[in-house]
Structure formats: C-alpha cells, structure tokens
C-alpha cells in the first residue's frame, strides 16, 4: 500500500480519510541525522530546524508518496506550504484547514473542510471514500489508540526505556496500520512481563515540543529520568481519545477533534494547562520536563505562563531549550542530572 504523507505539527490530521482512500498515512518527521542544507536554500536557518528537516525529507522523498497534505499547524508550518508547493515535486499537495477555536461554528467549518478534503481525494485518486470505509478506518485507529493507552499505562509500573516507548509512537504514525496493530499486540504481551519500575529512575512527565529522535529520549534515561506521562503529539495526545464509531464517521472525526488534548497552536491555553493538571493528578510524577525545540514559537510563547502555573501548583519543573541535533551537549546533560538530583 503506497504511503500518503502528511505534515502536521500537532495531532489533528485525519489519518482515517487517507486509510479509507487506500493509502498508508505517513507522518513527516524529518531526519535529525541528515543535514538540512537542501531546505536551507529556501528557508532561513533561524526558522524552526524541525520544519527545515521536514522540508529536506519532502525534497528527497516526495516521489515515494502518493501525495502530501498539510494540517493547519503552527505559523511556521502554515507559511511553508507555498515553499513546498514551489519546490517539492508532487502531483497532489493539499492544505487542510482545522479550526483553532472549539465551538459549534468551528465544528461546522471543520465538517465542511473534511468533506472538501474527501472530495479532492476521491477526484484525484479516482476512489470512493465511503462511510463504510471510513468506519473501518476509525475502528483500526481506535484499536491502535486503545493498545497504545494500555502500553503507555505500563510505564508507571514496568521498566520501559524512554527510547522504546518513543519508537512505538513513531511507528503509529508512519508504519502500515495492520503491522502497527500486530507490533503493539506483541509489545503489550511482552512488556507486561518486564521487571518493575527501576528504583534508580525518577518518574517524570515530559511536555513541550515533539521529540522526534530517540537520542533525546536516551539522554533522559541516562540522567535517571523516566517518562511515565507525556503531553506530546508524537505521544499520548495521539491516542488519548477514541473516535466515535456509532454516528456518521465524518461527524465523528469532527467531534473527536474537538475532544483531543490541545496542542499549543490552539487557544485558549488554559485548556492545555487543565489537561496537564489532569495528567499530573492521574499519575504521580516527581517532576515535569518542559523542553522546547529552538525557535519553536508556539511552545516558547506558552512556556512562561504554563511553567509559572505548574510551579505555582507545587510541581518541580525544568525548562530546556534544545538544539535539533542527535549530539547532546554536556550542559543539557548537567541540567538534567541536576534536576534528577534535586528530585
């Protein structure tokens, strides 16, 4: 099944429409190990490095994809649509608008946008995206979300390295869904047998920019910090909620989108904060790591308010602005180790 790529800095893209059209949804995550020189010809290097890595991936691999869709995300993503249109070779490039607000008008608008996207897909690929196919895709998605919720819950009781959890979250958005389900079922069985939560690790919640490479997850583990909760799109936000299976499938996707944890691209930001507090109430953690990728404006703009509120509620918080590189500098290591020491 050919991949259909999507570029979404949040977790709002309706993968189910792609699945119903007969493609494998593939989330563009860039590659931190590849230099971004090709993209740097079109985007200045003080713009979000992840977005430049995503563009580099698009420039190199677009011919392997049936098409590409953008989900409305941060300003950097949205404004790069034109750059992709000009420089990335593809037969189909689509920008899917998802509302920032969450009210009846926004839902109506979203419904219209999803229907418009379906029409464009049907016309381009000469397929029929029926309600039955969408319902089937929704069931597959829900299966994955349910398995991931069960797996993620094991993090508080079992010895699950951060990097291994990360690898599953990546598979969910990049690999063929049937393979993902098989992998997750096997992993769930296997992880239930793992030894208990290690005594030399400290349970933490990680929020902020999406961590798209495993090296950063390893650094947290080496510093003795174990992710037991996360508030990231490449993580819990992707599988926190279930899509309705009884109603009209497009309406169910709209409803689902209005219930999922909010990314920093959306407002008002107290909704994000309320969700974080809910996670912190559900799971006992020793500290919160608020890490942001350099130049990640949505998170950097939220950070002062969010951190003040979390600290104000009595939680220990460390803020780290990280470079987009697999090579972790000693200063970051020292800061994480100190955080571990004070926890």
């Amino acid at each position: 099944m050919k991949r259909f790529a999507y570029y979404d800095t949040g977790h709002e893209f309706p993968e189910e429409i792609i699945m119903a059209a007969g493609f494998t949804p593939y989330k563009i995550l860039g590659d931190v190990h590849e230099p971004t020189d090709p993209a740097d010809s079109y985007v200045f290097n003080y713009i979000c490095p992840f977005s430049r890595s995503a563009l580099t991936e698009g420039l190199a691999h677009s011919d392997e994809w049936a098409g590409i869709a953008f989900a409305q995300g941060c300003d950097t993503t949205n404004n790069q649509y034109d750059i992709w249109r000009k420089h990335v070779k593809t037969d189909f490039l689509y920008w899917l608008n998802t509302p920032s607000a969450n009210n009846p008008t926004a839902k109506k608008f979203h419904l219209h946008e999803l229907k418009r996207f379906i029409t464009h897909m049907e016309k381009k690929y000469n397929v029929s995206i029926t309600a039955e196919k969408l319902k089937e895709a929704i069931q597959t998605s829900n299966n994955i979300k349910s398995l991931m919720r069960q797996i993620a819950a094991l993090r508080t009781t079992k010895d699950i390295p951060n990097q291994e959890y990360f690898e599953l979250t990546r598979k969910c958005v990049q690999d063929p869904k049937n393979n993902v389900i098989k992998d997750l079922e096997a992993t769930l069985k296997e992880w239930k047998k793992l030894p208990g939560f290690p005594s030399d690790k400290v349970p933490v919640l990680v929020t902020g920019s999406d961590i798209t490479y495993s090296e950063w997850m390893d650094v947290l583990d080496h510093a003795g910090l174990r992710l037991v909760r996360d508030d990231m799109s490449l993580g819990e936000r992707y599988f926190a909620e279930t899509i309705g299976e009884k109603s009209d499938p497009i309406e169910a996707l709209v409803e689902y989108n209005s219930n999922i944890p909010q990314s920093p691209n959306r407002w008002p930001f107290h909704i994000r904060l309320d969700y974080l507090f809910k996670c912190l109430k559900e799971t006992q953690v020793k500290g919160v790591i608020y890490q942001t990728l350099k130049f990640c404006e949505p998170h950097l703009l939220d950070l002062p308010y969010m951190v003040a509120q979390i600290k104000g509620a009595g939680y220990k918080v460390i803020t780290i602005e990280r470079e987009y590189t697999p090579v972790i500098d000693q200063q970051v290591v020292s800061r994480l180790e100190t955080f571990r020491e004070i926890l």
Partner: protein
Amino acid sequence: MMTMGLDIGSITTKIAVMKDREILGTDVSFTGYNPERAWKEIIKRMLVNLDLKESSIDRIVSTGYGRSNVSIAHKKITEILCHAEGARYFMPNVRSVIDIGGQDSKFIRVDDKGAVTDFVMNDKCSAGTGRFLEVMARALEVPLDEFGALSKKSKNTVRISSMCTVFAESEVISFISKGESRENIIAGIHDSIASRMISMMGRSGVMKPMVMTGGVAKNIGIRRALEKRLGITLDVSATAQVNGAIGAALLAQNLNGSNLNN
C-alpha cells in the same frame, strides 16, 4: 575526614582540599584540551604544596563539565549542587546563588535547609558568560583582569543590545569605530551581562541573601551592574572562583558506602 573537590570547568580546573570543614588549600589551572592531564597535574601540585600523599585523601568528588573524566572520584555531582553547597559554606543562610562561569551562567535557589529547590541556566549560547567577556577583551585589546577597574571610570554606559556574542562583538567594534571610550564600552558589556542574568533570574524568583560565585565574580564591574539592577548587595567570597570545588569537597564529607555510586 580529608576530602578533595575537583571542579573541571570549560576554561579552568579548580581544586579544594578540606579537613572536616576547614579549607587546607585551593588552586586553579587551565583545563585546556586535555581535562585528564589538567586534573592530574593540579592534584599533584596541591599534594606537594600541602605535603600530603594521595592516600591521605579519604573522599574525592568531581564536578563541572569534565566531572566524568575524573576516574579517581568516589562520586560525580553536578556543579549546581556543588555551587549551592559552596555558597552555603560561605554564607549559611544563603537563599540564592548567582554563578557565572566560563561557558554558562546559573541562578540557583536554595531552601532554608540548604537544598537546591530550583535553578535556571543560560541556554546553549556564550552570551552573558566568561567566554563572552574574553571575546570582548580581545576586541578591546584590554586584559580581562583590568575590565572591572576600567568600568569604574566610565561616564556613560553604552547599550549593547545583541543577544549573541558574535553580533555583540560587531556592536562593540561599531562603538570603537565611533570613538566611544573603552571605559564606557566595558560598562555597557557588564550591563548587558547583568541584564541577561536578571531576566534569567526572573524565571525563578530572587531571594535574599544572595551570593555570587564563579570566576566572573572577581569582576567588580559585573557585580556593580548586577547590584544596581537588583537593588541589593551581593556577597562574594574571596574563594568565589573555587566555590564549586569547595562545595564538592564539602559534599564528599557526606559520602558513605551507600552513596558511592558514580
């Protein structure tokens, strides 16, 4: 108990040897390319100066960026905890610590029991650190240790607005070409470091009494710029540059068999 603290910083290596809570000796040398050689040589020199044998040291704690290179350390502890402990030795009721070192600046909050409760550090950028001062000293052709005295003679503090060392250097060069006095430029450099530090401290919250540590604490100009912006007097010990090593030596005294994991 005889303990040794080694602080392997990005620019300098510091050592402190203590007997119980009394400082027997301290020393500073350049770290250079080979941190292992740096700590081995400074230990050798210290032992000769104090007429001690290595076997007479009961516990060694290493800290700083090069802490992992010290194979003989009984424990490696991050510099934030060591600086807090060192500052508490100098002022037992300290509640916050400003530490400006070679490549980073830190603000550390300490509770009434001396435990670190919060800290903030500069992000990966040399602006506002000792390295920043070194670059500026080179541009102004002034030895770094004269910076403090020269800044006292300034009549008008210039404003350095760039957030980046490289761009700030260009700004300084522009001031030189405009004929601005060295004294005024140096005062502006100190003020820009103080400004950066204050905004960082704002993320955690200032609490008194406050101690300044690290090599940059020796610079009276920086201290004055910080004091002016904070509206308080900063306490600086005579051993500010080796404060991290003193803290490491003190923490070494708390080590026992159960916490000797590196």
